[in-house]
């Protein structure tokens, strides 16, 4: 308990001497659908908007969100908005990722975060969790999904200076 108190006190000092909040996507290893390692630094490397959706094959609201976005995606792509759908399926369900994205005709960039390294690095507790970045800078985070929210994400990007 004494150790905890000491660490806590030291943390408080550090806390007030640092810049607060996570402004950049931490560089983390993910895998692509061919199991090749991909670094987030190499994913969010262009000066454009990325809509990053953390999802899983068993998460119905996540799928509803991506199903809704796919209908708008041709327009988004024209405006240089890229959707990156990061699957958090572990070995129980990850085998369903590839057939599902093909069966649903999603043409997003799909990356796998099988042991939740990026999810943990971003302190994401539950999914769906959606992040908008400009390059690798995080500009919006949303927890959950309610139908129609994709329109608001688009509005947010349009109004962002």
């Amino acid at each position: 308990m004494k150790t905890v108190k000491t660490i806590f006190a030291l943390l408080c000092i550090l806390f007030f001497t640092s810049s607060l909040s996570q402004s950049l996507v931490p560089n983390t290893q993910l895998k692509d659908l061919k199991k090749e390692l991909v670094y987030t630094d190499d994913v969010f490397n262009e000066d454009k908007f990325y809509v990053v959706s953390f999802w899983a094959t068993w998460c119905i609201p996540c799928i509803n969100e991506l199903d809704a976005i796919v209908d708008l995606y041709p327009k988004w792509k024209d405006e240089n908005i890229e959707v990156v759908a990061i699957s958090t399926d572990d070995s129980r369900t990850k085998k369903r990722v590839r057939p599902m994205i093909n069966g649903k005709d999603w043409d997003f960039k799909i990356l796998l975060d099988e042991n939740h390294d990026l999810k943990r690095a971003l302190n994401i507790v539950g999914i769906p969790h959606t992040i908008i970045t400009k390059g690798s800078e995080i500009i919006l985070r949303r927890v959950g999904y309610s139908p129609g929210e994709e329109a608001e994400l688009y509005e947010f990007i349009k109004n962002y200076n």
């Binding site: 572990d90 129980r92 369900t93 057939p99 649903k104 939740h116 690095a121 919006l140």
Partner: protein, 534 residues
């Protein structure tokens, strides 16, 4: 462990003050005020599980993470006794360059598909089996190597056994990958079969533009079987696992099939945990390979993988599981006769899991299995799901499940269940912000607890506020007085903060999440959960 904490803290501050840094973190709290509970020793009380994370990033090379957990004034029911008070739960320092990575502290890692090693956190299940030790990895174009060693976290304590792991992934060509792993456990014991238990894995992956296949084989050295919390010198067995997975896909179509056979594959850093309820020091990850459902009635009688040897009585002897699962996805395109204006998506899943076939002897506590022999059936399921967007503002999901569940064999209780479940889930968008979700569910069951009926209503007032009510009723269960369970709540979310307050009565029994199941007693109460990141 205390000394190590202090050393880590000093390093933390030394590096922290010398460079530009950024701080971020998260907080999660789940509290319940229990007003009624079926367990005998229950007291009316407020209980909560709380998690506080801090992360500290310096440039893109150094990263410090810590998590403090607090179970005050007590942990929620059905979490391990090892979770109590407030304590520093995980702490780690990571140094990373493009090819090299080194971590000390709490390690989260997975080798291959996790069949040989996976350390992870799942707060809903109270699982955090991170390894308290060191890890290093090196990547090159052709080969990635990882090495780790340490103890395993067990609540606020650590395991008695130590773990050593080595993993290599080799790219044979652009399409072929080959992997090798070793995971050893050392636990000081007085039995003849030795202090070391060794697992070896070899795996092969192939990917092309329309086809993929992977195969993994694991062999486990001889280990004493834990029966009713004890080990006998006479019941010592090796184990093995085979997993074969393949699939084909093209635009609008996907097919996947997995075959898996597990024999005596339980593997814990405290080997006596094999008979525990919380999988606290489990080293490998052996999830049930069945479709994971998301509706209340579809989550009654869910299968849990059966990788263990269990000799309960002369008529209930298990040595593992064998079976398969297949998935099919198809998209009827927009404008086609079945697709309609907006397209129709279907998915089909089928799974079958059986005990291993072979010769079992209760009196001499022994068994021999044969490779392709299917023993008594544990579970089977076929499900069809149709997702249809009818208009710009209305869509529905139709789900039908046909399920067989051998409760006697899986849960080591009595009974077999043949059930059929039908779910209709409708979503209606009222305008850009408001929407209503309404689902109706029915479970047809001539055995066990008989029929159930349920429904759920959710109203999203805007992106921030939503209200819900759900109710399930076991309306033919006269024996238990036709129990019904309900929940009503409000959820508020704004950016990264989400608060849910609810009141209800929760069903007891085997509650499963992510393929891992746990018995929970029925309870009534008020729940509040909050999570936020900063």
């Amino acid at each position: 462990m205390n000394k190590l904490f202090i050393i880590i803290s000093i390093l933390f501050f030394y590096v922290g003050f010398s460079q530009n840094n950024s701080f971020y973190g998260a907080f999660e709290s789940n509290g319940v005020y229990y007003s009624e509970n079926e367990s005998k020793d229950f007291e009316k009380k407020f209980k909560s599980n709380n998690y506080f994370n801090l992360n500290y990033l310096i440039g893109n090379k150094w990263k410090f993470d810590l998590q403090i957990e607090s179970y005050l004034p007590g942990r929620l029911q059905n979490f391990s006794d090892n979770l109590e008070d407030t304590y520093l739960s995980t702490l780690s320092i990571n140094y990373k360059t493009k090819k090299f990575d080194f971590s000390v502290g709490s390690i989260y890692e997975q080798f291959g598909s996790g069949l040989i090693l996976r350390t992870w956190e799942d707060r809903q299940l109270g699982i955090n089996n991170s390894i308290w030790g060191v890890r290093t990895s090196y990547e090159s174009e052709k080969i990635d190597v990882k090495l780790l060693a340490g103890y395993q976290k067990k609540g606020r304590d650590i395991s008695t056994g130590k773990i050593l792991g080595l993993d290599a992934e080799i790219s044979l060509s652009e399409d072929f990958q080959f992997g090798l792993s070793y995971v050893g456990r050392f636990e000081d014991i007085t039995y003849d079969f030795g202090d070391f238990t060794n697992l070896f894995s070899s795996r092969l992956d192939y990917y092309s533009d329309s086809f993929y296949m992977n195969y993994e084989y694991i062999s486990k050295s001889k280990d004493g079987i834990v029966q009713f919390g004890n080990i006998s010198e006479k019941f010592v067995k090796p184990g093995n696992a085979h997993s074969l997975n393949f699939g084909v896909y093209k635009s609008g179509f996907g097919f996947n099939m997995t075959f898996r056979r597990l024999e005596n594959m339980g593997y814990f850093s405290d080997r006596f945990e094999a008979s525990g309820d919380y999988l606290e020091t489990s080293i490998n990850y052996l999830p049930a390979l069945t479709k994971q459902h998301d509706y209340l009635l579809s989550n009654i009688n869910v299968y849990e993988a059966q990788p263990y040897v269990s000799f309960q009585d002369p008529k209930l002897m298990k040595a593992g599981e064998i079976g398969f699962q297949l998935d099919l996805y198809y998209n009827f395109e927009k404008g086609s006769s079945l697709g309609g204006k907006y397209g129709t998506k279907i998915s089909f899943n089928s799974s079958l899991w059986n005990n291993l076939g072979g010769k079992f002897s209760y009196s001499s506590q022994d068994y021999t299995t044969s490779f392709f022999d299917f023993g008594e059936k544990y579970f089977s399921e076929q499900s069809l799901e149709i997702t249809k967007k009818v208009s710009k503002d209305y869509n529905y999901i139709l789900l039908f499940i046909n399920r067989y569940y051998n409760k006697r064999l899986v849960e080591e209780r009595t009974g077999e269940v043949n059930s059929k479940i039908l779910v209709v889930d409708n979503t209606l968008k009222l305008n850009n912000k408001r929407s209503i979700k309404f689902d109706v569910q029915h479970l047809f069951n001539s055995d066990d607890d008989k029929n159930w009926f349920g429904y759920g209503l959710e109203y999203n007032l805007n992106y921030n506020f939503s209200f819900y009510y759900s109710n399930i009723k076991n309306y033919q269960n006269i024996e238990k007085g036709k129990p019904s369970y309900y929940s009503t709540g409000i959820s508020y979310s704004k950016n990264t903060t989400k608060i849910i307050a609810s009141y209800g009565k929760q069903r007891g029994g085997l509650i499963c999440y992510g393929g891992v199941c746990r018995y929970v007693p029925e309870f009534k109460g008020i729940s509040i959960s909050l999570n936020t990141t900063f």
